[in-house]
């Protein structure tokens, strides 16, 4: 690959997705301006707005291009280290050309120093390379899962192409041809191309080495092999049909088996299309709530209900990015929403923040104290519903008498709370606890 012009190289070294070292210092913002998609993947469920924590393609709020620009402005004030703005969904960036290009043009005009990047499945790429070049977009991610149309037919049930819905290898031949043609055109235009591949054990695990070689020959800049995220609760084809993501060893074996010279990327956090912030710390939901409530203060919603002597009412904390579904990792939650649940009656009673004393400086924030803070914030709760949770916080919560529950991952909150109440009340018919004010 020819040497990048120095500004390009600087752009790349400041891009947290392309340069591991940039992770700690440079923040990125993903804008969810692209709702429509032109293909279906078996690991994605387009039916639900938000089911899965940190799953690419999942986003809580769709932005118009104008809203997106306002968001960039607002985030830049809060995160001066914002260097990258990406558009990755929730559908396919290039399947929404009007919204996409209006947003990109606006960013180019108003925030010329920001790096723009796009993610796409590649189907519409050949026809859009001109625009990408014109707008000075230097980083494009293409998701490619195999070079073999037959294998691809087990990953993509259909594509929309030339005014028709196509299925089977007729569809996947076109998709793969366009991905490769798009890759070539981008490389020729000097754009840095990252290829994302979703490792789906039993489907494409034997095909990624070949893909890795091919994209190396064609000049891809990075290859990011990611584990599939699959859970029946997400309602995806793979989730429901019993396909599961790889374990660490399987993922490592596939990565090790790739011999192409393209650099492999292993620090990907599979961020959501509306992620904000540093790669390791998705600040999207936090900032979102700050915009809702002003100035970073989390307010209790019904203060008068905070202190009640419960009979068999359960107070349950929920970790949610979206506010509608149980969809956040316990360890990622900075805010928990509290509910009092009694029989069919679910009442939101307030919110607690776990890092209320943390200002992000070096003096605070090691994992133990964060966990302690979470425990303090959740004091008085009977249970906490989250999408996932690590082993040691699980133990710590249990020790503190708070039941961690992750079996409602992806489920709508009210439904999850009702189900949880119904199943636990039989076991603990009377819970007596003095609630503390939040």
């Amino acid at each position: 690959m020819p040497l990048c012009a120095s500004s390009d190289r600087q752009r790349t070294t400041q891009h947290p997705c392309y340069t591991p070292e940039a992770r700690e210092h440079h923040a990125r913002l993903h804008l969810a301006v692209a709702p429509a998609c032109n293909i279906q993947c078996h690991y994605c469920n387009r039916k639900y707005d938000c089911t899965n924590e940190s799953r690419p393609g999942v986003v809580s709020e769709l932005l118009t291009p104008e809203q997106a620009l306002a968001r960039v402005e607002a985030v830049r004030k809060r995160l001066p280290n914002l260097t990258v703005v990406g558009i990755a969904g929730p559908g396919d960036a290039l399947a929404n050309p009007e919204r996409l290009w209006t947003t990109c043009r606006g960013i180019r005009e108003r925030f010329a120093d920001l790096t723009l990047c796009l993610s796409t499945n590649g189907l519409a790429l050949p026809e859009q390379v001109g625009q990408i070049q014109k707008l000075g977009i230097h980083h494009v991610t293409i998701t490619m899962n195999t070079l073999d149309p037959t294998v691809a037919a087990n990953i993509y049930p259909w594509i929309f192409w030339d005014h028709r819905r196509l299925k089977g290898v007729e569809a996947t031949r076109i998709l793969i041809a366009n991905q490769l043609a798009g890759l070539d055109a981008l490389v020729a235009a000097g754009v840095l191309v990252k290829v994302n591949s979703v490792l789906i054990p039993g489907v494409n695990h034997d095909h990624l080495a070949e893909l890795n070689l091919e994209i190396s020959h064609r000049g891809a800049f990075l290859h990011n092999i990611m584990p599939m995220i699959s859970d029946p609760a997400h309602g995806t084809y793979y989730g429901l049909m019993g396909y599961r993501g790889p374990d660490e060893a399987q993922l490592q074996a596939v990565r090790d088996g790739c011999a192409g010279e393209v650099t492999q990327m292993t620090h990907c956090r599979q961020c959501r299309a509306d992620a904000i912030g540093l790669l390791d710390e998705d600040q999207g939901p936090t900032l979102e709530r700050e915009w809702m409530h002003g100035h970073g203060k989390i307010i209790s919603i019904h203060p008068h209900t905070m202190e009640t002597e419960a009979t068999d009412t359960l107070r349950i904390a929920v970790a949610s990015q979206t506010g509608s579904h149980v969809d956040q990792h316990f360890g990622h939650a900075r805010v928990f929403t509290l509910y009092d649940v009694h029989d069919g009656d679910v009442r939101q009673v307030g919110m607690v923040e776990t890092d209320r004393y943390c200002h992000g400086d070096d003096a605070c924030g090691d994992n133990d104290s964060l966990l302690e803070r979470a425990l303090r914030a959740l004091e008085g709760c009977d249970a906490v519903l989250c999408e996932r949770i690590g082993f040691s916080p699980w133990q710590a919560l249990e020790t503190a008498g708070i039941q961690p529950v992750n079996r409602y991952a992806g489920i709508e909150i009210t439904l999850a709370l009702k189900q949880y109440w119904a199943t636990t009340r039989q076991r603990h018919p009377r819970q007596k606890r003095i609630r503390r004010a939040v």
Binding site: P35, C37, Q40, H42, D49, G91, P157, H163, R164
Partner: protein, 81 residues
């Protein structure tokens, strides 16, 4: 002669820009087809455009209420699942 968008629509916006007759409009968080404008794409395309890109089974129905994309036809998840 017209199709209709019904409850399962998730409001993904995919169909709206494709309609040759501008018959599709946002309606709350979902979409709706203005019946008098919809031609079922006859004379314009071989397949109705909205139903050809819609990712959600049973979201678009014909005049008899029959879904253009019945359950199981798009996701591959069996209809009785």
């Amino acid at each position: 002669m017209a199709y209709a968008i019904v409850a399962p629509c998730t409001g993904c916006w995919a169909c709206m820009p494709l309609c040759p007759n501008k018959a599709i409009h946002p309606h709350g968080k979902k979409f709706t087809i203005r019946e008098p404008l919809c031609t079922e794409c006859e004379g314009e395309f071989d397949d109705p455009q909205c139903a050809s890109i819609c990712p959600v089974e049973e979201a678009i129905v014909d005049e008899t209420g029959k879904p253009l994309n019945p359950r199981g036809s798009l996701t591959g998840i069996p209809a009785d699942y």
